[in-house]
Assembly symmetry: C2
Homo-oligomer: 119 residues x 2
């Protein structure tokens, strides 16, 4: 058992849209990522996904409008719901989702990362 | 879909050792609790449990020694591993665990809460 310091983990990488695995439990993963700019519209067929903002401001686009999350706020996106993360300035986000969840959900494209790094 | 502000949720209750459900996804729950004093030794037969410190300092006793977690740090306690949460001063903790996890794990005693509040 290891104590994980989220700030330390954040300081260990600089790339965007590339979630890192920082914990695993009960078939779920705790992932940490930095977002900047715009991601693609996608949904997860079988997985609900939680986004918790650690630092910065996260915009989640939904088909019926945007939601803006600040530090210390989270949202749970149910499976099947299309969403599009974006951030004008860099935002650090902790995600909680099943280990099976692809970062691009139903899409397989240049942004898809099949094997996430563990840090 | 609701944006959950963790600080707001924390300000809505004052009791200790009584986890509140603040989110649910994939059969898991996000729980928020305040601890102060000493809890009981217990383990969870089938559930891994994650403790993330939001504010304060959390001590987790294990049979081979204590671990102390500060704000922004988490630990995942694998199923079957005995642990004993305690806090000299009040600590606010976010927990991720399966919806099936009892707060007292393998024990059923005065501290056991069968139906957690949703806040």
């Amino acid at each position: 058992m290891e104590i994980v310091n989220i700030a330390e983990k954040l300081s260990s990488f600089t790339d965007h849209w590339s979630p890192k695995i920082i914990g695993e439990l009960n078939g779920q993963q705790v992932r940490l990522s930095k977002f900047k700019g715009e991601f693609v519209w996608h949904h997860h067929e079988n997985e609900d996904e939680m986004f918790l903002v650690i630092k910065g401001e996260l915009t989640l686009g939904f088909r019926d409008g945007d939601k803006v999350l600040n530090e210390g706020e989270f949202i749970i996106v149910p499976k099947g719901v299309e969403h599009k993360p974006s951030a004008q300035e860099e935002v650090s986000v902790l995600m909680f989702e099943p280990a099976t969840a692809l970062n691009t959900g139903n899409l397989d494209n240049d942004l898809t990362i099949m094997n996430l790094d563990r840090i």
